[in-house]
Point group: C2
Chain length 210, copies 2
């Protein structure tokens, strides 16, 4: 774990803090598709993203889903939660988009470190700020883009976080993420293919115009 920490967080945290994280942190390997957080969950530990990517979803009362954004390995924002502090319930669902490696940190330590380490405080505030920005971008996407634009953005984002221009996903799954119907997605995908932006195959889509 120590190498991971030094490699991904060494430039952010002072040595002493890295040591502390090394002491109390628990490494978790999450397979693709596994659910990390469910809506309503109480969060008792905070994940630091070491590698992989996570998909963040919102859901309404009727169970309709909507993707908010992906959290990437490279992101400074490794914080999946706004709820760690204040021990509130999770408002979102988190699913591993790829195989993912996390370091879990107990909430108590989080709060302790806020007072103790300036770099930790900076990190937490910075993470909040990033998540805020991501939420605003999600709003832009939903409010200002039409479905075909949203779809193409989704495909590009997904290709990005998977480091692969071929996306293995069904039309039905896309429809769920974008909160629309399968038929609509099939229709728009076909149009994107005719425009030369993607290539369609059963169970996968190749993004051309990245």
């Amino acid at each position: 774990m120590l190498e991971d920490l030094q490699q991904h967080y060494g430039y952010l945290f002072e040595d002493e803090l890295i040591q502390e994280i090394n002491k109390v942190g628990v490494v978790k390997d999450i397979p693709e598709g596994a659910q990390l957080i469910e809506i309503g969950d109480y969060i008792k530990s905070m994940p630091l993203l070491v590698s992989g990517a996570i998909k963040i979803l919102r859901e309404d009362e009727e169970g309709d889903e909507l993707i908010l954004y992906f959290i990437e390995q490279g992101d400074t924002c490794a914080m999946t939660l706004s709820c760690c502090l204040g021990s509130a319930k999770s408002e979102i669902r988190a699913i591993a988009e790829t195989d993912t490696k996390l370091i879990m940190i107990p909430v108590e330590k989080m709060e302790e470190w806020l007072a103790k380490y300036k770099s930790w405080q900076q990190f937490v505030l910075q993470s909040y700020h990033s998540r805020m920005t991501e939420l605003l971008e999600a709003i832009d996407t939903i409010a200002f883009l039409k479905m075909d634009e949203r779809l193409f953005k989704y495909l590009k984002d997904k290709a990005m976080v998977n480091h692969n221009d071929v996306i293995y996903v069904t039309h039905q799954q896309i429809a769920r993420d974008l909160h629309t119907s399968r038929v609509v997605i099939s229709r728009l995908l076909k149009t994107l293919e005719i425009e030369g932006k993607i290539q369609l195959q059963r169970n996968n889509i190749k993004v051309i115009d990245l």
Copy 2:
């Protein structure tokens, strides 16, 4: 200012902090309709909301607006900004919904107090969390509700923050806030009136079904 502070923030902050705020804070009275923050502004002071209400808007490249939420006097979340710390540009526009009284605090102090006062730290984190929740609610509204539901919610929210079931606003202004056209709003308002949920007058709307 001291009374305002003690009344609205006394239960949150220790005396010593209240005194500090009293020393460096500047009271600002903002008339209804005045713009507090523009997109792209650098924020050099953070507002504590003492009385009134503020409307938070997002805008895309083409200048299309969209309301995100109102910030109310009663809200624990008096923080209008995610950008104070880290001196980032504002991503949103803030407009006084009613006559509003603020206490402005310089950014330098904000950061200083984070280390110094536990209660301040709690307040900042709590505020981030509230704003997060508000953004998620905004997403729910845009993503999961149809325009007629969004409109009615908007009217109810507006009546709420104005402490008045009669809203003084034109159809065109509503259309701008909800990012649609005036004709659509007029049409849906008429339907709501027929359903007995509102009463329409020139330049004002009475919300019946609060």
